[in-house]
Every structure is written in C-alpha cells, then in structure tokens.
C-alpha cells in the first residue's frame, strides 16, 4: 500500500499487519477528535506519522504511482483536524 504523508512525501508500506495497525490508530485519532480530546489526538496523530515513517520505504522521486491513502500534514493542529470533520477541511479550493 502506498501512503502519502501530506506536505512530506510517499511511502510504500507492507499490506496486512502494518496497514491494519495504521487503520486502528487512524480510527482512534478520529474518535479523539470527535470526543474533543486534544491531548489524545495529538499523541495518536504523532503516532500515525511516526508509524508510516518507520514502517514505510520512501518512494523515489520519479515514481509516478498515486497513493492509496493520504495522511494529513504532520503539523496538523487539533483545530484543523476538527474542521476536517465539520466540513471546511484542510484543503481550500
């Protein structure tokens, strides 16, 4: 699976256990945002980014494959993540 950390770059991750773990972290982070738990979100989101960097192999610059999943920018704030779920999102038109 190819994962992009937005504003950073693409990584190739092995399917199976690794992506399953990422999925769990992802859902927990969403739950933390919905519960308004900023500290927990910050912790989980940092874990997601670190997990991708640790388990992924960076894609070379001339690799043209698109990503399966895109992780929001590493410096995403709690407020931005909250807005991501309330409509406006991180990416303006």
């Amino acid at each position: 699976m190819i994962v992009r950390i937005a504003t950073e770059g693409q990584y190739e991750l092995p399917d199976g256990e690794v992506t399953a773990r990422l999925n769990v972290l992802d859902n927990d982070a969403v739950a933390a945002v919905e519960a308004g738990d900023e500290a927990r979100f910050t912790d989980l989101f940092a874990q997601i980014v670190a997990y991708v960097r640790e388990h992924g192999t960076p894609l070379s610059d001339d690799d043209l494959r698109g990503s399966d999943v895109i992780v929001p920018p590493p410096d995403t704030s709690f407020e931005e993540a909250r807005q991501e779920f309330s409509g406006d999102g991180l990416i303006p038109d």
Binding site: N27, V30, I91
Partner: protein, 258 residues
C-alpha cells in the same frame, strides 16, 4: 480506511481530478505549475530574510542595553565612592529598569531565533518537494513526447497530479506561516520607527544627568582634597614648599596624600 486518512485522501483526490480535468496539455500545465512553485518559494525566502533582519535589529538593541547596564553599574560605584548614596540609588534603579527591558528583548530574540530555524527547515523541505515534483514532471513529459499510450499517461498523471497538489498544500501552509512571522518582523520594524528603543539607547550615548552630577561631585571633592592638602602643607611649615610645585600638578579624587 474511513478515518482521518481516508477522509483526507478523498478530499485530496477530488482536488487532483479537478486539477487534471482542467489540464489540456499535461506537460504545459506541469511546467506552469513548476514555475509557480519556484516563484512562491521566493516569497518564503523573503519572509525568512525579514525575520533574520528583525532578529539582528533586536540583538543590536540588546547589545546597547547591556552596555547601558555596565555603565549604570559603574556610575553607581562612582557615586557611592564619592559618598552620594542618593545618586547611587538613582543609577541602580535605572540599571534595574534597563535589565528588565533587556530580559524582554532577549526573550523576543530567542523567539525570533526559533522562528528562523523552523522557517529554514520549512524552506529546505519545500525545496526538496519541488525537486521531487520536477523529477515526476520530467518523467511524464518524456512519456508524453514519446507518444506512449494515452492510458498510461493518465495513470502517470494521477501520481504527478498528487505531487502537484501536495506541493501546493505544503506551499500554502509555509506561506501562511511566513505571513505570520513577517507580521511579527514588521512589528519590530514599527516599534523601532515609533522610537520605542530610543528612550533606552539615548542613555547609552553622551553624558546623562548622572554623569553630570558625578562630574560635579568629583570636581568638588577634588577641590576639597586640594584645599585639605594645601592646608596641611601650610601648617607643616616652609621646608616642604619646594615639593608643592611638582606634587600639585595633577590632583586626583582622593587618597593620594595618604
């Protein structure tokens, strides 16, 4: 994945397809986008230069204040040695006020230093990202001009489109931050223009009121001590009169006769 990453992926991908739908000639669009990225990078660099300038200004003010602290300290000692405790107190009070200013200034300098570092990192990351985009762009262009199958082009375009959108996002975030820091740098500039630093630095140049009082004090003590010496010499009798001419040339503030 349905969570944060899934949601984010969907939004980014929607943006990419919008981007690609608009493009008539992929290589031209990519080239234009690359030029635009290079231009925006210049803005980030300019913002960084502003922060560095603001930091240097504050450091200069800070140095002046440090000199001022040393000067006021010396003045206080001089005043005390001359027996004027009130004047010494005035000097020490000013010293403490200047030290407070200095602390505030130093923390501002430290803050700008931190901003400078994060902006430098940001700029380096952006440069690397633009480079990655350039590589992808070149691959697509090579394929396009070699007139390979259109299907392959559009697949490739997804990858390069994603990179393009991502550089755009990175750029936008960097520019937002740059604007923020630029505003802070401008605030320093305006403070300086408004003369906020002048009151403090004026103390550092030329002679201030403490200097004048110290001078008066030392000249009066010089007069006093010279008078005392003359009295002593006169009362000691005529045989010391020959030494008076050579010893009296450069009287100093005190203790010489002991």
């Amino acid at each position: 994945m349905a969570g944060l990453t899934g949601r984010f992926s969907t939004v980014v991908k929607a943006k990419i397809s919008k981007l690609l739908d608009r493009a008539e000639d992929p290589s031209e669009t990519l080239e234009y986008s690359y030029q635009k990225q290079m231009e925006l990078l210049q803005n980030v660099k300019k913002g960084l230069a502003d922060v560095v300038t603001a930091k240097k200004r504050l450091q200069l003010q800070s140095q002046k204040l440090e000199q001022q602290v040393v000067k006021l300290d010396t003045q206080a000692r001089q005043a005390l040695a001359a027996g004027n405790e009130d004047l010494a107190r005035t000097a020490l009070e000013r010293k403490s006020a200047v030290q407070n200013e200095l602390q505030g200034l130093d923390s501002q300098v430290a803050e700008l230093e931190g901003q400078q570092q994060s902006m430098t990192e940001n700029q380096q990351k952006l440069q690397a990202k633009i480079e990655a985009f350039r590589s992808k762009k070149e691959v697509v262009k090579a394929q396009y001009s070699a007139a390979e199958a259109q299907v392959r082009i559009s697949e490739a375009a997804t990858g390069v489109g994603e990179e393009m959108a991502d550089v755009g996002l990175a750029m936008q975030r960097a520019l937002d931050k740059t604007e923020n820091m630029r505003a802070r740098a401008q605030a320093v500039d305006e403070l300086e223009k408004a003369g906020a630093f002048e009151d403090l630095t004026q103390l550092g140049s030329g002679e201030d009121d403490i200097d004048r009082q110290l001078r008066q004090l030392s000249s009066s003590t010089q007069v006093d001590s010279e008078l005392e010496r003359m009295k002593a010499e006169l009362s000691a009798g005529g045989h010391n009169a020959g030494e008076l001419g050579s010893g009296g040339d450069a009287p100093s503030a005190g203790g010489q006769s002991a």
